[in-house]
């Protein structure tokens, strides 16, 4: 090794690069055993998920996912509010339907029809 060699570090790096450390087969096997053991552990952790989605998840999926649940919740709250504090148009319509004192009217739209049939 000369002064020039020492100044030129590349010859040291080249030598180090040429010497590729070779892992032993035993060591490679140990690492593979770790990998396969970890895969078994992962498979065990995932297994309960395969039982299928729960009832809530099924319901949510059936109505179109969480955005649909948000819409459903908004509609429910709005419906409840209209029931508790109805706008005047709604309360008048409701009174018209529900008021027991309201009279029922029969309107004969074709009063001559029965007579015509009887006469033939």
């Amino acid at each position: 090794m000369t002064e020039r060699d020492v100044d030129n570090l590349d010859i040291f790096f080249d030598a180090a690069r040429r010497q590729v450390p070779d892992p032993s087969p035993d060591f490679m096997q140990r690492v593979l055993d770790d990998a396969l053991a970890e895969q078994r552990r992962l498979a065990g952790r995932k297994a309960p998920r395969r039982a299928g989605p729960g009832r809530l998840r099924q319901f949510v999926a059936a109505i179109g996912g969480w955005p649909a649940v948000a819409g459903l919740a908004t509609a429910s709250v709005a419906g409840l509010w209209i029931g508790v504090n109805p706008p005047s148009a709604v309360s008048m319509t409701a009174e018209a339907y529900l008021n027991s004192g309201a009279d029922a009217y029969l309107v004969d739209l074709a009063p001559d029809f029965q007579f015509d049939v009887a006469e033939g």
């Binding site: 090794m1 060699d5 030598a15 010497q19 070779d22 690492v31 770790d34 970890e38 895969q39 992962l42």
Partner: protein, 192 residues
Amino acid sequence: MALDALSDVSDEALLVLFANGDADAARSLNLRLTPRAFAQAMRMLNNRAEAEDVAQEAMMRLWKIAPDWRQGEAKVTTWLYRVVANLCTDRLRRQRSVGIDAIAEPADDSASVVDGVQDAARIKALYSALDELPERQRQAVVLRHIEGLGNPEIAAAMEISTEAVESLTARGKRALSAHLKGRREELGYSDD
């Protein structure tokens, strides 16, 4: 699936297959990455048993992180370089001074005996000098000049800027030159 069928599959995709329980993906990742992690650890620690421990620990962390791996964020190899480098740094800090006699002889797998002897002497001197460097400089020099990584990849692995990498490698090389000059007589080399 045969192993050669996975040769074109990226490391990141193999990791997804691994997390889904594909044993061939485990074998393929092991063959691709374990020798690389081991080589890096050997070059940092220059001790086979320690390098095996570090590489096994780094690979174990990879197996464990596989289900949570976020695609597109980092290359698997860069992540692995970082983990191995950090584990090596921890060990180097614990046992700072390794005597030159404790440095392992490199394996004789070179083309000729003469080249082998010359390489062995250079490698021994290099690792001895590397051992004198601060851990971060040593890491940067090993990754740049022995592992052959580019500065951006080293920056990602060491979580520093590319400018910091350049500075670390420049200072590391200056220190290496100084150490190697200082050891010439000690190692019994003379000018020729």
